[in-house]
């Protein structure tokens, strides 16, 4: 159990955030907003952080999840709660299919080639959906009316303002457990070796492809569940230009790097900072939040190249708190 101690601070942060959200009027949505950013950080960290591979097209997995849920709710509305369950299943299925496609082509590439190939996947997929008019093409899938008719307005509202949030919370808790499991298992050690020197890892007989794929599938699956709950279920619509928006990947990368890639606590802390900053800047400095945010980001990158948690771990080495922070 010792190796799971680092989960303590992570869960503490989640629980405190949720308590604040549930008890303070007007803070529930902002907390969910922050949770979304923590979520994409944790999800992407399972791949980017553990393998060091930059997936610019990561948002495509969220999109697959969003479409999986939308397709289920749109075409199988009569199943009621069953449709939601089916939605999560389709989300996982679509993202797994995409994983196989990307894994086949892109995962054999390295460094910047890989990063850019994944952009190709994301943009290509988006234009395929728009150009071939799949799932409504650019008009997307709008569910609000359908859900309200099938479930009644109150229950539809309950779905998007409560159930969606609960699903996201569960996904994030599970994602963190998966991260610590991966870090502590053979997978984690193999990936650590791979991150340091992929060729050397291969030479000593580590099946790098297998471990890369494990991290890739895990991360994609979590991403798709986030897309299904935080986008489709919560917003009740899916537009391709929205869900394939590459800016979300970049935000997720920023969160992973700020917190410290490959750490458990890193994306949680930086997701919290990033989300909270974004929210409060849009309240205090409407219109200028990005102007204030950009220099801050540059300074942090220059001052803490290992990320916040990486920096703290260096300072704490040898102290008793050390084993709680990963």
């Amino acid at each position: 159990m010792r190796r799971y101690k680092p989960l303590l601070p992570v869960f503490a942060i989640y629980v405190i955030l949720l308590i604040i959200g549930a008890t303070t009027p007007g803070l529930w949505q902002p907390i969910m907003f922050i949770m979304f950013y923590i979520g994409i950080g944790v999800a992407l960290n399972n791949f980017l952080g553990l393998t060091g591979y930059v997936d610019f097209g990561y948002v495509a997995f969220l999109a697959m999840g969003a479409y999986g849920m939308a397709v289920a709710l749109n075409y199988f509305t009569e199943l009621g709660f069953g449709a939601v369950a089916l939605g999560f299943f389709l989300a996982l299925l679509f993202s797994a299919l995409l994983c196989i496609a990307v894994g086949g082509v892109a995962l054999r590439l390295r460094g910047a080639y890989f990063a850019i190939a994944t952009i190709g996947v994301n943009e290509g997929l988006r234009y395929l959906i728009e150009g071939a008019r799949i799932w409504g093409g650019s008009e997307g899938i709008v569910l609000s009316g359908k859900l309200r008719k099938a479930f009644g307005p109150d229950f539809a509202n309950y779905l998007s303002t409560f159930v969606a949030d609960v699903c996201l919370i569960i996904v994030i808790f599970v994602a963190s457990v998966i991260t610590i499991y991966l870090i502590n298992s053979r997978v984690g050690y193999a990936l650590l070796a791979l991150r340091e020197d992929e060729d050397a890892a291969k030479v000593v007989g580590i099946n790098v492809t297998k471990y890369k794929l494990i991290a890739f599938f895990t991360s994609a699956a979590i991403g798709s569940l986030i897309g299904a709950s935080a986008w489709t279920l919560k917003l009740t619509y899916v537009f391709p230009e929205d869900v394939f928006f590459i800016h979300y990947t970049v935000e997720a990368i920023v969160i992973v790097m700020l917190g410290g890639a490959g750490t458990l606590l890193g994306p949680v802390i930086s997701g919290l900072i990033y989300g909270a900053l974004k929210y409060y800047l849009s309240v205090i400095l409407p219109g200028f939040q990005l102007l204030a945010f950009a220099p801050l980001l540059i300074i942090i990158v220059v001052a803490f190249p290992d990320g916040i948690v990486g920096y703290v771990r260096k300072k704490l080495r040898g102290k008793s708190l050390f084993e709680y922070i990963r």
Binding site: P25, Q29, S282, G287
Partner: protein
């Protein structure tokens, strides 16, 4: 927005029973991101205790905010989301001030049909986004009813820098009339490439882009004669007299008062555009609150059902069931001699339409509309 608020407060505020309420405005920047807008609407509803929200810009954002608004029972007046389907989802607390997407290009088609019943060959080129698609699907249906022949219809993806593939194809179909566009950048690009490829037609109407002064600055004389639908324009002829003639109640500042207040607030060199719609949204709240004699959003929404008034923006009346705007009529503007003129509907027009428009060669030789 501030104009209408100032006007109402200067008039003594809103009277409910014996109490007089003054309006106050709270605003946040949603960065046009769907996640942000939900948080901010919740903040407005709970932290700021706002009861009446002016909905975010764009249809998707309105849709994202609607469940939150309904949850907290705040009323949301959409002055930015123009798509029809928002109001077909059954949200009771969302009402619309803008004319819906389905109305955007119909006025132009009416105008062409009336000016020249022989101009039958219609081509559509528009951006592949939900809004422009909604506009042009509705326009296409309407055009067929009017007896137009659709000779070409294609879309282009957002963010493209060269439209020549579809425009070369379009040229070969030899249309009389072109409608299309989508947003700012592509609308300018469409006009500029129609000019480059010398695709001469009798009338052109492009969404969004030509309604802004930047359009003429960017295209120069090539912009001459190009039409665009607009929710409102400086110089529309809505006034207390017109309202009386038509038998409607007039409410809010007159055109001159509006312009004066606007310049006071925004600065001398600014020209109002979407601001009139915002003002109308604020006025509709004030009017409905007064009518309901209550600040309860449910009662105010109730009161809106049979509210109908004319203001600087034109008519304001919603369809009781869906909350969709039914009273307001769009105007068609056309660039004539470097000025934006209102050419349709006749009741609001301050100039005659220029038809057929000069060819691109004539325009580059300096010919402008109205000479």
């Amino acid at each position: 927005m501030q104009v209408a608020i100032k006007w109402i407060n200067d008039q003594g505020g809103i009277k409910v029973g014996d109490t007089v309420y003054k309006l106050d405005l709270k605003y946040y920047d949603d960065e046009s991101k769907k996640e942000t807008v939900q948080s901010l609407v919740e903040r407005l509803a709970t932290v700021d205790k706002v009861k009446f929200v002016l909905a975010p810009y764009s249809s998707g954002l309105t849709l994202a905010a609607a469940p939150i608004a309904e949850k907290y029972g705040v009323l949301m007046n959409s002055h930015g989301g123009a798509s029809d389907y928002i109001f077909e989802q059954g949200y009771y607390y969302v009402v619309q001030t803008l004319s819906p997407a389905s109305k955007y290009q119909t006025g132009f088609l009416d105008m062409v049909h009336k000016l020249d019943p022989n101009a039958k060959r219609l081509a559509l080129v528009y951006e592949d986004k939900e809004f422009s698609r909604a506009v042009h699907q509705a326009a296409k249906k309407y055009a067929e009813e009017l007896g137009f022949e659709i000779v070409y219809e294609k879309t282009y993806p957002a963010g493209t820098s060269d439209l020549s593939p579809i425009l070369n194809e379009l040229k070969a179909t030899n249309p009389d009339v072109i409608i299309g566009g989508g947003h700012f950048a592509d609308g300018q690009l469409l006009a500029s490439q129609l000019a480059e490829l010398k695709i001469d037609v009798k009338a052109i109407s492009i969404l969004v882009a030509p309604a802004l002064p930047a359009f003429y600055e960017a295209l120069g004389t090539n912009a001459e004669g190009i039409c665009a639908p607009a929710q409102w324009e400086v110089g529309v002829k809505y006034s207390p007299d017109v309202a009386k003639e038509l038998g409607f109640e007039w409410y809010g500042p007159t055109q001159d008062e509006f312009m004066k207040l606007f310049k006071e607030i925004a600065g001398e060199d600014k020209t109002p555009s979407y601001h009139a719609a915002e003002a109308a949204a604020v006025l509709s709240y004030a009017k409905a609150i007064e009518k309901a004699q209550s600040l309860d959003p449910a009662k105010v929404r109730e009161a809106m059902n049979d509210l109908g008034f004319m203001c600087v923006y034109g008519m304001w009346k919603i369809d009781p069931e869906t909350g969709k705007q039914a009273g307001h009529e769009m105007v068609i503007i056309q660039w004539q001699g470097g000025e934006k003129k209102i050419v349709w509907p006749t009741a609001a027009a301050n100039s005659d339409p220029c038809y057929p428009i000069p060819s691109w060669d004539e325009k580059s030789a300096g010919k402008i509309c109205g000479t």
